[in-house]
Symmetry: C2
Subunit: 356 residues, 2 copies
């Protein structure tokens, strides 16, 4: 039976990414060698990483605008540290928006480097909304926000105007919706949602913001060094980058971000309409801030849990359990999840009405 | 035609690792899902990383001796930084042995943290030997060495007695030869030689040495935090860890390190015998320090280069070119390279004698 994979990450990728990347492990580019056993400095792999770096900028509309795309190690969690290392001046300060667990993690690391202002926080409301109406002081070294909060199912629909460097953790919604990406100076994202398999981290950075802190930066944490080395300062996560390239090529064939956004909107609207219509369910995030990537919802009556779980498991749905800090359910609607899978989920929610 | 892959890393892995890891990308454990699309916190993946961590300690003979095995991000290059962050006391000092490019890289990062003594160096001789007869002062926070120098083809056959913490970068020869691994307090290795595909980093650390520096360590760089989180502080490089597990399982079936060492010895002895016998070639490393993982050699007469290159390329050999800083040839003899491939190389060297 076909599986409908709602995993929050690592998550569903297009079937062609699975098939082509599996083939590359057996024989890459008809070289008679596995992708896993060739040098990362071979012409064949250099072509992969260069195409991936170029395609990232093309898809984001950032070509020729002073940006560099890097494929690094460490996940977004290492970026929590690299951002202040590279951007917070000695005795400087930065402003953070606290919208969830990952934002809190970023704030924790920034505090090791300098004054870290929490400009707005929804922590007291278990992060069920995006803070608004906060003030952004002058003379920040940078402003940091998290565009989508995987655990809590919220998403920033608008971004504040700032007069400083704007940094955004887009781990869970990059490549899912059109934005003016040139309003951001540094975007980072762990691969394992809409970019590719776990193990690679995307950093897109405007070069002109770098080299201004007065800090000595360890080599592996230095964006300028990674740029100078064309994203190959050390052996990169080869397989994850190759599978990411396949996924980006797939995205381009879907009409790029604008093309996939239409499908993503249809998926989210179908599911939220059912959450709102069906008296047995309620959403956990404030409506205006609902994420189009991760829809979080609970049963009005917890006693229905065993029967609902049985219905969706029998329908071939997997990965629907909510994060332990929210409970209930989380339907992750990443790019590769087809509309058909959302219809299956909605059908199970309707089916519950007939059973209770 | 079968390829004989001498790549220095990423490098040859057993065919069954390629086949099983490709299959897992199409359908993992008959779940109806790809390995790439399941949660790293699923029971299925937790079982993978736990088995891999246990098997590492078992193969190294370190079970029940106070060690933890971690699969981290970042490659050995990130360890260059994590080692001093975790082990060099504030106002402390460390001693390093400088045996090649990677040792120099480790020294560079350590200098950011404290007094970094170069106890011995073969830099002036283009790293063609392992320094000996150096003194190790008292009261070092740790002693750091590199067991095998991929680029220069040298390998430490003995390790000095020290009265401090002993750290070793074993990226290019871990799991290849028997050693008393309990003499090391911290061993690290980028995956992409004898452990698995690029993208994961192995750290084996004796817990009792940690937490003694007085430093505040950023989360992602803190070994104690990674231990507390059972090597899953953040999303790990899932595919690389799974393929590493397959490779470690293969190694166990070969009789573990002692089993593979016999074959590795036979391979190295076959090749070095030919390098020494054949008047057209000479080795670049001092004999007593020759690496059994990376044999570096040059033609006595550079004019023979085009014809020799043609012979080995026609024999299906790939990845034989030496690193740009040494020139000539480098035959990497990692665990998965069969003795048969070394015989093919030796035959091409003999064939050159008949052609010039």
């Amino acid at each position: 039976m076909k599986k409908h994979n709602y995993s929050a990450g690592p998550c569903i990728l297009p079937q062609e990414v699975f098939e082509k990347s599996a083939q590359a492990i057996l024989d890459f580019n008809q070289m008679g060698l596995s992708l896993l056993e060739i040098s990362h400095r071979s012409d064949e792999f250099v072509a992969v990483i260069e195409e991936a770096r170029t395609l990232v900028l093309e898809l984001l509309g950032l070509q020729g605008k002073g940006y560099q795309a890097l494929f690094l190690h460490g996940g977004a969690s290492l970026e929590f540290l690299m951002v202040p290392y590279n951007l917070m001046k000695v005795n400087g300060k930065a402003g953070y928006l606290e919208t969830g667990t990952w934002a809190s993690g970023a704030i924790k690391e920034a505090k090791l480097f300098g004054e870290t202002l929490i400009l707005g926080s929804s922590k007291e409301a278990n992060f069920n909304h995006i803070p608004k109406g906060y003030e952004i002081p002058k003379s920040l070294d940078y402003f940091h926000c998290t565009s989508n909060n995987t655990i809590y199912g919220t998403q920033m629909k608008a971004f504040p105007e700032v007069d400083t460097v704007r940094v955004c953790d887009m781990s869970s919604d990059i490549f899912s919706r059109t934005l003016d990406f040139s309003k951001f100076d540094l975007i980072y994202a762990g691969a394992q949602k809409n970019m590719g398999p776990a193990g690679a981290t995307l950093v897109v950075v405007k070069e002109e913001i770098l080299g201004k802190t007065g800090r000595t930066i360890p080599s592996m944490l230095d964006y300028q060094l990674h740029i100078a080395k064309e994203s190959m300062y050390n052996t990169p996560p080869v397989f994850s980058i190759y599978a990411s390239l396949l996924n980006l090529q797939w995205l381009k064939k879907q009409g790029g971000i604008a093309g996939i956004e239409k499908i993503n909107n249809a998926k989210a609207e179908l599911l939220y309409a059912e959450i709102d219509r069906n008296p047995l369910f309620k959403g956990t995030a404030v409506k205006e801030d609902r994420s189009y990537m991760n829809a979080t919802f609970v049963l009005e009556n917890e006693a229905h849990t065993p029967i609902f779980d049985q219905i969706w498991e029998q329908a071939g749905i997997s990965g629907l359990k909510g994060h332990r800090s929210v409970g209930g359910y989380r339907a992750s609607l990443y790019n590769a999840l087809p509309l058909e899978s959302v219809q299956v989920l909605v059908d199970t929610m309707k089916a519950l009405e007939n059973k209770v």
